[in-house]
């Protein structure tokens, strides 16, 4: 029994005792029992009222009334199920989108890194503008580690995709090579097995996911020896399920996505890696942990001093082109995603505002039918504040239901987004609907309740009770105030929709610009896949070449295949041009050297601008450059016949025989790279290859036979990442697709809600003026005139919304600069398209109810009420 029930029972007993005693007193004075009881009851007064009054003493009256309002609210919601469902769904949409975006925002921007003392973790890198890389030479890192006193630990790490033989299966997986400090900095504790000991290098630690997928969670794998890229290593442990690699992802060429790390290997430290030479260096990424109390500025100053000493000791080595960057790890991790997330968060908040306005509009429309009820309540003595509270309680109930449904929506939405574009944003896969996201959803619901609950209450503030209750009074006429509020709400909706549509429009245009390519390059019909030589037998270039020769001989004979080629994008290296570059000094330009075959032009549709393309079996080394190089390095001089230095030792020279057009085939949103193409026969090593095959039909249909052919050459060499060129390109702009996808959905929702809004207002005004329209038509007004009359106000609303929206969009799109590609944030074309498009759809939304007005039969209209 609750305390309240007990107290009520006590009270009942007390009152009964009182009456009983009074009755006894009366009997003692000589009354009959019936008379006595009647007298006692009448002396006591109204028992129910007394109890009510006492309850009011117990509980402050407003709490009681809120429960009353809530019960009433529930009744109203159940009485209008259709209306309630629409409101709840609209809200669920708004709150769900907001909660989903917030959970991503939370995971990426707000939630700290899960390693101990994340605030002390800093990312150290030397950024090279020419090479567009930010790795640290291993020799530098080792000197920093020995000399710097600001850091407690300094982790060197580097990813590599390696071929792992797990029993009879061979798979490619991302392996992170980490120095021993990683285990201390990450605080990782294996759930099975143990961490590698210092100087124990032939061991492997599995991530939990990889352990499950490849080893079926078999605990006996600990101690098992497996083959990685031809090396034998022992599995020493399995990491916990929730453990994530959270150091900054690499930006090496070739490592495009931040896929999950499958396994960890200890880093080898070779003495020769401390030697600085021009021949190329081992590099890795560095994250360090500051000592407690050491500021990041002090650490930066110290590192600069160490670098100066290194530069003095190695004058030839140090080219001063590298910039030191010392950033908090958290900032480094988020990178460019920060702006995109803020833009998305703002956009989705606008969607919620529009949803609120839509619901406020719906409630206003309904409140006109509830005026009589409210008038009765007011005339029976309900204060206006009581009526206001009634509205707020009702809207809170709706908002909480909407919020609950919204959380479900958010979970689905998040699952879909994670499934579609997991690599869009670093740490995106960590996004979950956690306590913070739920709190966010709840507070958003309450905010919306206040927003959309208040507006009908305000519109009804000046309800004229007397007029409303007069018999036969026209209920609609008293609500011109409410119509004003509704028009205003629709203007706001349209303005917000214009902002969102402009943002989405700019992104669509960016995409269009990114995907613009020549007609010969047809990514839909190109199949690409990756291949990396592994195993001792492929250490020799001759073996690699022989493999490629056979590959290029066999694949084109498969039915449906038009042409096949390989490209091996080497690292960017300095472009040394004989007679142009100054010997001894570092050349100012770097270029990507692609080892490829003659078929590249046919596969990719590469257009020759000058000279000739390569053939298979060139007698002497040749090079073909792209227009970017011709423009910048040769600067107007004819490059044909000039000689460039090829990568590798000893240096060899190749003669430039042709110039081809720039082609963006890997990263769509980057500027065209300066590229040099050389025959694969003349390159010192191939290493990682991309096989590209042009097919007649669907490339994915030909994929099985192509893969079978490749595996028939040497089945120990695994092919991976098989996809069409179009898919590969789409992946390269995953972050932008993520933003566009979400902004597009937001803008579309906004448009839909705004159109419903304008339709609703016109329809409402038609209903309100049915009588007047009837009279006009009876007096001979043409239907065209009536339509014009009704649409005119719609146009007014639309124009106001569009103009305000354009002004706001003009001011706001500049915040999305980094999301755009080759498009100005204030692109006039986009703005004009949005304004015209929205104007036309708004006109249609207004025309539909206006035509309904014309179809009104004057007789019926005049009989109306």
């Amino acid at each position: 029994m609750t305390r309240r029930q007990k107290a009520l029972e006590n009270l009942n007993r007390e009152i009964n005792d009182h009456i009983e005693q009074d009755t006894q007193d009366h009997i003692a004075r000589g009354m009959t029992p019936e008379e006595a009881r009647r007298a006692a009851l009448s002396a006591f007064g109204n028992v129910g009222l007394v109890k009510e009054e006492i309850r009011a003493v117990w509980i402050p009256i407003w709490i009681d009334q809120i429960f009353q309002d809530a019960r009433y609210g529930v009744r109203m919601i159940r009485q209008n199920p259709g209306f309630s469902v629409i409101v709840i769904l609209t809200l669920a949409l708004g709150i769900g989108m907001n909660t989903a975006v917030f959970s991503v925002f939370n995971a990426v921007l707000l939630r700290p890194i899960q390693y101990p003392n994340p605030e002390r973790l800093v990312s150290l890198s030397t950024q090279d503008i020419v090479f567009n890389s930010e790795a640290v030479a291993k020799a530098d890192w080792m000197d920093w580690k020995d000399q710097a006193s600001s850091f407690e630990r300094m982790v060197g790490y580097g990813p590599s995709d390696q071929t792992i033989a797990t029993g009879d299966d061979v798979t490619r997986a991302r392996v992170m090579v980490v120095s021993e400090d990683f285990w201390e900095v990450s605080g990782a504790r294996p759930v099975l097995g143990r961490l590698p000991q210092i100087d124990e290098t032939n061991t492997l630690l599995l991530s939990h996911k990889f352990f499950e997928q490849q080893f079926h969670s078999d605990p006996n794998v600990i101690g098992r020896t497996i083959d990685i890229d031809g090396q034998q290593v022992v599995i020493s442990g399995v990491l916990p399920e929730q453990f994530r690699f959270q150091l900054s992802p690499p930006v090496f060429p070739g490592f495009d996505s931040v896929s999950d790390v499958a396994a960890y290997r200890p880093m080898l430290h070779l003495p020769e890696q401390r030697v600085r030479s021009q021949n190329g260096v081992a590099i890795n990424l560095v994250v360090a942990k500051l000592k407690p109390g050491v500021s990041i500025d002090r650490a930066r100053t110290e590192l600069k001093a160490i670098r100066t000493r290194i530069a003095e000791a190695n004058p030839k080595w140090f080219t001063n082109q590298k910039q030191l960057s010392v950033l908090p790890l958290r900032e480094k991790l988020v990178g460019d995603a920060r702006q995109a997330l803020w833009v998305l968060m703002g956009a989705v908040a606008f969607v919620l505002l529009i949803a609120c306005a839509t619901i406020a509009n719906l409630l206003l429309a309904r409140s006109s039918t509830r005026q009589r009820e409210i008038a009765i309540r007011i005339s029976l003595g309900a204060g206006r504040f009581r009526v206001l509270r009634q509205f707020l309680v009702e809207s809170t109930l709706l908002a909480l239901l909407g919020g609950a449904a919204g959380v479900l929506f958010a979970r689905w939405g998040l699952a879909i987004v994670l499934h579609l574009i997991p690599q869009a944003i670093p740490r995106l896969t960590e996004a979950t609907i956690d306590g913070r996201a739920l709190t966010f959803a709840l507070s958003t619901s309450l905010f919306t309740a206040f927003f959309f609950g208040l507006s009908p209450a305000i519109a009804l503030w000046n309800v004229n009770v007397h007029n409303l209750l007069k018999d036969g009074a026209r209920t609609f006429s008293a609500t011109s105030g409410s119509l004003q509020v509704r028009r205003l709400l629709v203007v706001v909706e349209l303005a917000l929709a214009v902002i969102l549509l402009s943002g989405a429009g700019l992104m669509v245009k960016s995409f269009w610009r990114m995907n613009a390519h020549g007609p010969a390059f047809d990514p839909e019909h190109i199949l690409v896949m990756k291949l990396q030589f592994s195993g001792l037998q492929y250490r020799e270039m001759a073996r690699q070449r022989a493999y490629v020769d056979e590959l290029l001989r066999k694949i084109p004979s498969i039915p449906g295949v038009q042409a096949a080629t390989v490209t091996s994008p080497g690292a960017r290296i300095f472009l040394f041009v004989e007679g142009v570059s100054v010997p001894g000094a570092a050349p100012p330009q770097a270029a990507v050297f692609n080892a490829t075959s003659a078929a590249l032009t046919r596969v990719m549709g590469l257009r020759l601008v000058e000279g000739r393309w390569m053939t298979d079996g060139e007698p002497a080394p040749v090079a073909i450059i792209n227009e970017s190089i011709a423009r910048t390095v040769f600067d107007g001089r004819n490059p044909i016949g000039m000689r460039v230095r090829l990568p590798g030792r000893p240096p060899s020279m190749a003669t430039v025989v042709g110039v081809v057009a720039d082609l963006k085939y890997s990263k769509l949103d980057a500027k065209p790279e300066p590229e040099v193409y050389v025959p694969y026969a003349h390159t010192p090593a191939l290493g990682r290859l991309t096989v590209a095959v042009r097919t007649v039909g669907d490339p994915l249909a030909s994929a099985p036979s192509i893969l079978k052919t490749i595996s028939s050459i040497d089945k120990t060499q695994a092919v991976f990442d098989v996809q069409t060129m179009a898919e590969a390109q789409a992946d390269s702009i995953a972050p932008r697709r993520f933003s566009l996808f979400l902004l597009g959905i937001f803008a579309f929702t906004a448009l839909l809600l705004a159109l419903i809004g304008i339709y609703g207002v016109i329809a409402y005004s038609v209903r309100q003026r049915t009588h007047e329209i009837g009279i006009r038509m009876a007096l001979g007004a043409k239907s065209g005139e009536v339509v014009r009359m009704m649409v005119r106000q719609g146009i007014g609303i639309a124009l106001a919304g569009i103009i305000i929206g354009l002004a706001a969009a003009f001011a706001m799109t500049r915040f999305m600069g980094s999301l755009l590609y080759d498009v100005e944030p204030t692109d006039i074309e986009t703005f004009a398209a949005v304004a015209i498009g929205l104007g036309i759809t708004a006109l249609i939304a207004a025309l539909v109810p206006a035509f309904k007005a014309v179809r009104i039969d004057p007789i019926n209209a005049l009989r109306y009420e």
Partner: protein, 120 residues
């Protein structure tokens, strides 16, 4: 609070009931029915308290911590709630009594100015 039989009984002023209850409890713990009877008796049946209205007043006073309540056994051997003054209630009774005296004098002065002024 209503008149019962005829015009010879007076309705209570707002808040007066509280004062009467406090005064009744001055002599020690009393149960509900007895409070009603005591008020009636002591006013020589002029003041008619609608007995039911006594209870909301009692609960209000408990909430203000001017009186406290405990279970006890009534004269006819039934369990009953006994109300008694708290220290705070005792102080309040003094305050209310003083206030009441002032009010009564002031009203008397307005209603019969001559009599009042005539007596120095």
């Amino acid at each position: 609070m209503s008149t019962k039989d005829g015009n010879n009984r007076i309705e209570l002023l707002q808040g007066t009931l509280d004062l009467l209850i406090l005064r009744t409890l001055q002599r020690g713990p009393v149960h509900g029915h007895a409070i009603a009877k005591a008020i009636e008796r002591n006013s020589e049946d002029v003041l008619q308290v609608e007995q039911g209205s006594l209870y909301p007043a009692l609960h209000r006073l408990i909430k203000r911590r001017w009186i406290s309540v405990e279970e006890g056994v009534s004269e006819n051997n039934r369990r009953a709630k006994y109300y008694s003054l708290t220290a705070k209630g005792r102080k309040q009774l003094d305050v209310e009594t003083t206030k009441w005296d002032k009010l009564a004098q002031a009203i008397a002065r307005i209603l019969r100015p001559a009599e009042q002024d005539g007596k120095p």
